[in-house]
């Protein structure tokens, strides 16, 4: 590419005293149990544990986390402020045009959340005509949009909001919204904290596709970090093979969330 100087590796970007290349990973740290800031002030969560394990295998790099606004994670990658985005990102074609995606490291399952004792929702079909509330920049909201586009006669009423997930759940509990969709791990965390009057139903496998074209989570990189991505991918593949991913996910979710083997064959974009 072009003058050639800035293509490929991150090695010129900056280096620490030890001569290692510093990689800055940016996170919004707003999605427990995936990524949040622990009591010790350091990022914690499944995504963080996995990334730490990855960089344990990459001695040339030194990993640093930076906690910032969610929007900044994305903008900062393109601008070169950060080299990796860590926020349990899911994939769609639009986003894939803007960022490089790693191999997946997490298999996400989503649930419909409705008021306890109310009408259960087991598929998008059931949700037709009901009201849904969600945030921006998350794939469940995009999925509902996609459903409406394909099924204009069975449209769902979307309300977007800048409020946090607890508010969406509360609104479902008090009946001001019919349902929301979140991933199972977060659902469990929230219920532990607030114990809302809500119930959940798993989203069927085929419908989950709508949510994210696939139901995996990825690290993302700016377009000029192909080399870094390659190395992270290699390490992720090893972690999958030696069972580390399974181990870490059991620690956080109590179940195996490592993606299937064939997902570690070729990168998604």
């Amino acid at each position: 590419t072009g003058c050639g100087s800035s293509s490929g590796s991150a090695s010129k970007d900056s280096s620490s005293d030890s001569g290692k290349t510093v990689i800055k990973a940016a996170t919004g740290a707003n999605a427990k149990p995936y990524v949040y800031v622990g009591d010790d002030g350091k990022p914690a969560g499944y995504d963080v544990d996995v990334l730490n394990a990855v960089f344990d295998k990459l001695p040339d790099y030194e990993l640093e986390y930076e906690v910032t606004d969610f929007g900044s994670v994305l903008s900062g990658l393109n601008s070169g402020n950060y080299q990796i985005g860590v926020n349990n990102f899911s994939y769609n074609e639009d986003r894939g045009a803007s960022y490089l995606y790693s191999y997946p490291y997490d298999k996400i399952s989503y649930v419909f959340v409705t008021k306890k004792g109310g009408k259960e929702i087991k598929s998008f079909e059931d949700a037709a005509g009901l009201s849904f509330e969600g945030g921006t920049g998350i794939s469940v909201s995009n999925a509902v949009e996609a459903w409406n586009e394909k099924n204009p006669d069975k449209a769902i009423n979307i309300t977007y909001s800048d409020a946090d997930t607890s508010v969406f759940l509360q609104h479902v509990a008090d009946g001001s919204q019919d349902f929301t969709i979140i991933d199972l791990a977060m659902y469990n965390s929230y219920m532990e904290e607030f114990n809302y009057d809500v119930q959940k139903n798993d989203i069927p496998e085929d419908e989950a596709k709508m949510i994210a074209e696939n139901s995996y989570a990825y690290y993302i990189f700016p377009q000029d970090q192909k080399d870094l991505r390659e190395q992270v991918d290699k390490a992720l593949k090893e972690l999958k093979e030696d069972g580390t991913l399974t181990e870490i996910s059991k620690k956080w979710y109590g179940q195996d969330a490592a993606p299937e083997d064939d997902k570690f064959e070729e990168t998604i974009n």
């Binding site: 929007g71 994305l74 803007s98 921006t136 920049g137």
Partner: protein, 247 residues
């Protein structure tokens, strides 16, 4: 693809964002009007030094100005329903606020917030009016309300206009916070667009361009109004008294 910065997107997004300009303006205009009325009342309480009320107004203004507007939105939007729920739970009542549209909460919170700031602007402008003119009005036999409407406000408006204009410009940008109450105006739509393709930087630039144009136009309108409201610089021609004979 794979551009770091998608310049074309900045412009192609603008029409999409502009669809939500009406929401932004509706919220800003209604909140501004309400805040002007409330602000005038608050200012009058302070100027007339109404006992008790005066202290309450001071506390109100201090709290509103001292806390982030985000919190005020949160409190109106979540606090009120939460409180009602608690009351229902404790007293077995059954108040319900689910029927209230989110934009109403946003309107209330923004209007209350703005009123505290406008109260000070209005107070200062009312106090800037030449006392002599107010005394002249009293001496003619007008009561305070008549003097306020006929003499004081027409003077004060000219003084307050630039500050109120700035406040309004601030409010237009401030409406974007209403997104925490699920009100989708321009900035919110920008976040929704960016949430699809993760192009936050581009969408913020688009928004900046739109806001800047709005501000620019408004500044022109305000300085035009200012000129209009001022007494003309040049004296009119003398009247020909023969034509306007007093019968």
């Amino acid at each position: 693809m794979g551009k770091l910065f998608d310049g074309k997107l900045v412009f192609t997004q603008i029409p999409l964002l502009l669809k939500y300009l009406p929401v932004t303006m509706e919220l800003a205009v209604t909140a501004m009007i309400a805040s002007l009325i409330l602000g005038l009342l608050l200012a009058l309480v302070k100027i007339k030094k109404v006992p008790v009320l005066k202290q309450l107004v001071s506390i109100y203004i201090s709290v509103i100005r001292g806390t982030p507007i985000l919190v005020q939105l949160y409190v109106t939007y979540f606090g009120i329903p939460m409180l009602l729920k608690y009351i229902n739970f404790k007293c077995g009542t059954n108040y319900n606020v689910n029927g209230v549209a989110p934009i109403v909460y946003a309107f209330v919170a923004l209007a209350l917030n703005e009123s505290a700031f406008n109260a000070e602007i209005i107070r200062a402008s009312l106090e800037s009016v030449d006392k002599g003119q107010v005394e002249a009005a009293s001496a003619l036999g007008m009561n305070y309300f008549q003097a306020l409407i006929r003499i004081i406000l027409p003077e004060a408006i000219v003084v307050a206009l630039p500050s109120l204009g700035n406040a309004f410009i601030g409010l237009i940008k401030g409406t974007s916070l209403a997104f925490v109450c699920s009100v989708v105006e321009m900035t919110a739509e920008g976040k929704i667009l960016a949430g699809r393709n993760y192009r936050y930087f581009e969408v913020y630039i688009s928004l900046a361009i739109i806001y800047w144009v709005i501000t620019f136009v408004l500044e022109r309108v305000i300085s035009y109004l200012e000129k209009k409201l001022r007494v003309p610089e040049d004296a009119p021609a003398l009247l020909d008294i023969r034509d306007t004979e007093v019968e």
